[in-house]
């Protein structure tokens, strides 16, 4: 009886932690679904967009969304940078353009309770090439020289649409 109980408990633990059964069975919604179904803070998004514009960031083709986090006063800043609608990083050729962009986004929205920044980059056909995210804290520390570039890069996560990135713009 005890052995059977242990086996059941072990199976449950493995099922929940390794195979993520609650998620697969639809008992728990994925984190992204939970976040997108929250009501966004549209006023904050307008303010952030105005703040980043005042900070000298090009906002043509930029959509800004502020998603509140559950059980917290913190928000996540999501931006879509659409080249087909006029977005450009501005400083073409600079290898630090992405880092600089993240720094500008984080600095401009620092007063808006944003604790994470993410952006999706769309090419001239409006197709997604990559989505990049980092915690605001790490971005600001890097901008002040408090952490190295290696530490900063390790704090960044991304989803790359590899085939799209490779073929984007090709005839």
């Amino acid at each position: 009886m005890t052995t059977l109980t242990l086996v059941i408990v072990a199976a449950l633990v493995i099922g929940i932690t390794v195979f993520k059964l609650p998620l697969r069975l639809g008992l728990v919604k994925p984190a992204a679904v939970r976040m997108i179904s929250q009501t966004p803070d549209r006023e904050a998004a307008l303010k952030v967009k105005s703040d980043i514009q005042q900070a000298g960031i090009n906002t043509s083709g930029v959509d800004v969304f502020v998603m509140p986090e559950k059980k917290s006063n913190k928000n996540v800043l999501l931006t879509v940078l659409d080249t087909s609608k006029g977005f450009s990083f501005g400083n073409a050729g600079s290898t630090d353009a992405i880092s600089n962009y993240l720094i500008k986004l984080a600095s401009a929205s620092a007063s808006d309770n944003i604790d994470r920044v993410a952006f999706q980059y769309l090419d001239s056909e409006g197709k997604s090439l990559a989505t990049i995210t980092a915690p605001t804290d790490a971005i600001l520390k890097y901008s002040k020289g408090q952490i190295s570039q290696t530490e900063f890069f390790k704090a960044i996560d991304a989803r790359i649409d590899l085939s799209q990135l490779a073929t984007s713009g090709l005839p």
Binding site: F65, F89, T133
Partner: protein, 237 residues
Amino acid sequence: MKTKTKIISLVLVLLMLVPVVTGCSEAGRDILTSFIQDWVKTKFGIDLSDNSTWGKAKAGWGLMKLFTEDSTGNPDSDAALGTVKMLKNFKDAEQDMAVGRSSNNATAEDLAIALRPSDWSYRVSRSTLALKQNDVVKGQTEWKKGEDLAYSDQNPVGYQRFYSQSINELEAWKNTGQLDKANWEQQAFAYGTLVSDYVERYKLTKDPKDKQMALYYNEQWTYVTKEGKPPELDFGD
């Protein structure tokens, strides 16, 4: 066998992609590619600039492992990355709701709600519209659903935003002069809702102006409903 074939094909595709990725030529894409090269090298030790056969194979394998994983290992990153991908649906819903709000179009608002049923701000607008169109029951139902959703978000700033939106929409209607011409049932619900909105927002803000407005609308409600004496309000002081 099927999985094996899939993996081999993926490796081959990636092997072909690596040199393309490292040699593309559009300004924004170049910046992105350059950043990705630095990032995967620093974070995962994958060197995309190594053009030897072994180097390409290693990079291809590394990329395949990296980009076929469901999770980054950081739940906050996963949520942010996954959410951005779903913004298309969100933008469609926003467009429908904008049409609904600007032209008092219930069908457009219902379409938006169908796309984003958990968005309390849509429910507030639908409630206001129903009320304007003399469907008081629908107005009440949508407002209640909205309030429940706002509380289920468990974000205190959200509760305040909910009451503020309800106040703004009802007062905007009142300012057109249409509310005063509406029937008593519409007026009673609008003023009753404004009382409740201001009382609840006062509990969060402790702003004396909110208390003052709650008392003002309480008198309006009493006048419309001919209740005689305004009911006592619980400000939680």
